[in-house]
């Protein structure tokens, strides 16, 4: 199986860091091309961003929106001009880290979870068909989990000429963890299972491997990608 997931953790010359995860869309539609393009374009834009662009909260959001829209346009154009890439697209989590403050740009059904010693929260809201039906009260969480279209996403990077990402802000508490993952992980593990692994007395590296191993053990038909951040440490 082609790995359509791509991840990157990039450090800016100034104090910023960017964690990116992209899960390309499957079949013969060159999902890996889309996710690869998303990561590489984001990387280039990030490394070329100036301090003033990233310095304040407002400019950060402005930069993130424009960058995601530009990347969207590039992928979309590529899909139109290359027959083999027709219809490709990707999810995107782009987490811009500035000390303890994070700005998350989100498209699709990859997720960001935030774990403190007491609480677990899912930060992102999936742009998936079933999640919207759940939010509108039409179906239950349980029905959603068994829905035949549960993996259909209604928004993705590169499939349409314009895109509106969702933004989330996150302030990291001391001794907290962030899990950024593709649906390969979140479809298989409950938040409780993730939390249990994160509290194990292991290195961050081992915890990441453990997460993936557990998801693989319970099926693991899809690509699984995880970025695990402890405070501001990366894996």
């Amino acid at each position: 199986m082609v790995n359509e997931d791509r991840v990157a953790f990039i450090e800016h010359p100034d104090r910023f860091k960017l964690a990116i995860l992209a899960d390309g869309m499957g079949g013969h539609n060159a999902g890996d091309v889309a996710s690869e393009m998303a990561i590489e374009e984001m990387r280039a834009y990030f490394l070329n961003a100036s301090l003033t662009q990233l310095d304040s909260k407002e400019t950060k959001e402005q930069w993130m929106l424009e960058t995601i829209q530009s990347v969207n346009e590039k992928i979309y154009t590529h899909s139109l001009t290359n027959e083999s890439c027709k219809g490709m697209g990707t999810t995107l989590i782009a987490m811009l880290i500035d000390g303890q403050d994070c700005l998350i740009g989100h498209i699709g059904d990859s997720r960001v979870y935030y774990f403190t010693s007491e609480t677990v929260s899912l930060i992102t809201r999936d742009h998936s068909y079933v999640n919207f039906l759940v939010e509108y009260g039409e179906i239950s969480e349980e029905e959603a989990a068994n829905h035949p279209q549960k993996n259909f996403i209604v928004k993705s990077l590169g499939t349409e000429s314009s895109i509106e990402p969702d933004f989330y802000e996150l302030h990291l508490e001391p001794a907290s963890n962030v899990v950024i993952c593709s649906d390969g992980l979140s479809n298989k593990l409950t938040t409780e299972e993730m939390a249990a692994i994160l509290t194990l007395p292991l290195s961050i590296d081992e915890k990441g491997k453990k997460l993936i191993q557990l998801a693989n053990d319970s099926g693991g038909e899809d690509n699984i990608s995880v970025i695990l951040l402890a405070n501001d440490e990366e894996v």
Binding site: M25, G26, G87, Y129, E138
Partner: protein, 660 residues
């Protein structure tokens, strides 16, 4: 590029003629049957997806069993390396979607014509337990005669339910998705009916009833919004036809047509003038709908029944309050009158007083008189739940009667008398009707009867039925078995009778068996169904072991199980022969006395030819030799005696010349 390639050495791909998210369709040429076909190749890397493979095979193959003029025939399902493909009938024409875009809106007559073909096709599929699940104009083809053909039966599920969706994918069209499918429930026959209703809407208006910016907003409309009126767009469309759309697209599957056949029947008469004054279809209000109307995120605390109860009580309250409001208004009027003129002051006071008294009386009457309450809906409830609900609403329970019902399960309440929704004073006796379940009748026994008579009887009954034929010793057309069997209690509207009818005896054509031997005859016996009866005879022409003659002759027809008499050659018959004896004297006549003379004897008879000498010896004196010949009737015998290469005696002895 796949054009020009051959799949499984059989289908030569010629041209891409269509494509969707999950597959491409090519015009191809079947090199074996020498015909054009359409080949659908799945765009899917299913290299090692066992489950997908099995499911796809099963579902595509089950669709191959469908034979109907309005269904695209499937010829073959297979795979070539990792490529899964379906070979189908090639229809020159366009999709119904293209057709609608070009010609919409279609006239009611043309729309109904198309719908009749579609319902007939889907009814056939449902009869074969195949649900389409993805009816949409993109899956319907229109040929040059304007007839429609449905394609892609059942393939939708094998694609969505398996690992295709393990990776992300943008959702396909949800415009034809039934509410139950939008919720993720199982597609049923009723889901196909819903989609057919949406297609009819689109045929008549050229538009989709539910549109929106995203799949989610469209799905929500399927779930929440009533189907818009097509007559609002075009009032010339008959109400009866709009009703077909409304009934087919009812939110609750139970309110739709019970079957596609029923929809088809409705379409048969929908444009007849006798139906021009039909009322607009409105689905019956039921508990489900009461529940569905408000968009509530939290689950209801007690459930449907409690919810219904609360709503009913509120309705009661409103009615109670209204008269009080009226009083207030009326009270003001006299006050206003009081101000008008001082001369009328006293009159005013008197009138006011009287009015006040009257009004007070009315008010008092209202307070004392029993409350008017709406009878709550108790259909589908248990009897004790229904009684409790009615009593809580202030009614008393009258008689409890029983009646048959097709919709309500046995033992549950069917309806009340007076009916739910009517307003009655508190304390009114309400009769309950409890369901006996669906009315059953004993099944007639048709075994032994003629199918023609039974068919014409059943066609006028509520029964559905199906006829299968089987060989039997009964005469052709006689019913030999039935399911359910005679005497069984059945519900006419829900029962499909399967009648097994005798085909009579079956015949086959006898092959030319010349050249067959015992072993190959045995094979023929097995594959033909005939019995072979063998006898043997001599033959000069036919080699031993092979068939000389057969009866009946080749190409004659014979009932299966019948005997073919065959004569097998034993080879040529033994010839009659006679023995011939002769004593021959061979004189010793040497050139020089004492020399040995060489004698050679040649004979020709049944077992010898003249080619080699029969005997060879030397003599030194006159010698007699005893000749023994076996002469057959067809060939004379002969002998020749040579002595030192000189022929000294030679004779031919015909068979006839020899005496026994």
């Amino acid at each position: 590029m796949i054009e020009g390639k051959r799949i499984n050495d059989r289908y030569k791909i010629l041209d891409l003629i269509g494509g969707g998210g999950m597959s491409n369709v090519y015009l191809a040429h079947d090199m074996i049957l020498n015909r054009d076909v359409a080949v659908k190749i799945l765009r899917y890397d299913a290299a090692n997806e066992e489950e997908f493979h099995r499911r796809f095979q099963r579902e595509a193959l089950s669709a191959t069993s469908l034979t109907h003029p309005n269904i695209v025939s499937i010829y073959d399902v297979g795979e070539d390396q990792d490529m899964h493909y379906i070979v189908m009938e090639y229809i020159k024409g366009k999709t119904l979607k293209q057709y609608i875009n070009e010609f919409s809106p279609l006239t009611p007559a043309r729309s109904v014509q198309i719908m009749k073909q579609l319902t007939s096709a889907i009814a056939h599929a449902h009869e074969n337990q195949i649900i389409h699940r993805d009816i949409k104009p993109q899956n319907i083809l229109v040929d040059h005669e304007g007839d429609v053909k449905v394609t892609d039966f059942g393939i939708a599920t094998s694609l969505t339910a398996t690992s295709y969706t393990k990776t992300n994918s943008v959702i396909g069209t949800v415009h034809y998705l039934s509410p139950e499918q939008a919720r993720g429930g199982t597609a049923t026959n009723q889901s196909d009916i819903y989609a057919l209703g949406i297609v009819l809407y689109e045929l008549l208006t050229g538009e989709l009833p539910f549109s929106g910016e995203s799949a989610v907003s469209i799905a929500l409309k399927h779930l929440q919004t009533e189907t818009p009126s097509i007559r609002a767009l075009d009032a010339s469309i008959p109400q009866s036809l709009e009703n077909v759309v409304l009934k087919a697209t009812a939110k609750n599957p139970l309110h739709r047509y019970a079957s596609v056949e029923e929809m088809e029947e409705d379409l048969q008469t929908v444009l007849s003038p006798s139906r021009s004054n039909e009322k607009k279809f409105a689905p019956p209000i039921d508990d489900d709908e009461t529940k569905a109307m408000p968009v509530i995120k939290e689950p209801l605390p007690i459930g449907d029944i409690a919810n219904t109860k609360i709503l009913s009580q509120e309705t009661g309250k409103i009615e109670k309050v209204e008269p009080a409001k009226n009083h207030k208004k009326k009270k003001k009027e006299p006050k206003a009158g009081k101000k008008k003129k001082s001369r009328g002051k006293i009159w005013g006071i008197i009138i006011a007083s009287i009015l006040i008294i009257i009004l007070a009386a009315i008010l008092l009457f209202n307070l004392l008189s029993p409350k008017q309450v709406e009878i709550p809906q108790v259909a589908n409830l248990e009897v004790d739940e229904a009684i409790e609900l009615l009593e809580t609403s202030g009614f008393t329970i009258g008689e409890t009667k029983e009646k048959h019902s097709e919709d309500v399960e046995k033992g549950l309440v069917v309806e009340t008398n007076p009916k739910a929704g009517l307003t009655r004073v508190e304390g009114t006796e309400i009769d309950l009707y409890v369901s006996l379940g669906t009315e059953t009748v004993p099944m007639d026994d048709y075994v032994g009867k003629q199918i023609d008579q039974v068919t014409s009887f059943l066609e006028n009954s509520d029964f559905k039925f199906r006829v299968v034929s089987e060989e039997s010793s009964e005469s052709e057309g006689t019913i030999i078995a039935q399911e359910p069997s005679g005497g069984e209690e059945v519900v006419p509207g829900e029962t499909e009778i399967v009648l097994t009818v005798s085909q009579g005896k079956s015949y086959g054509t006898v092959e030319d068996l010349s050249g067959y031997n015992k072993a190959s005859l045995k094979g023929y016996e097995q594959r033909s169904g005939f019995k072979i009866d063998i006898s043997e005879d001599y033959s000069d022409d036919v080699p031993a072991g092979e068939v000389i003659e057969q009866s009946p002759d080749a190409n004659k027809s014979l009932e299966l199980g019948g005997k073919i008499h065959v004569v097998i050659s034993k080879g040529p018959k033994e010839k009659e022969s006679k023995m011939y004896y002769k004593t021959i004297n061979i004189p010793y006549e040497p050139i020089q006395l004492g020399d040995k003379q060489q004698v050679r004897i040649f004979i020709q008879d049944k077992t010898h030819t003249m080619v080699e000498p029969f005997a060879e010896f030397t003599i030194t004196e006159d010698t007699t030799y005893k000749l023994e010949l076996e002469i057959t009737e067809d060939q004379p015998a002969a002998y020749r005696i040579e002595r030192d290469a000189m022929r000294i005696d030679e004779q031919t002895i015909p068979y006839d010349k020899v005496e026994e």
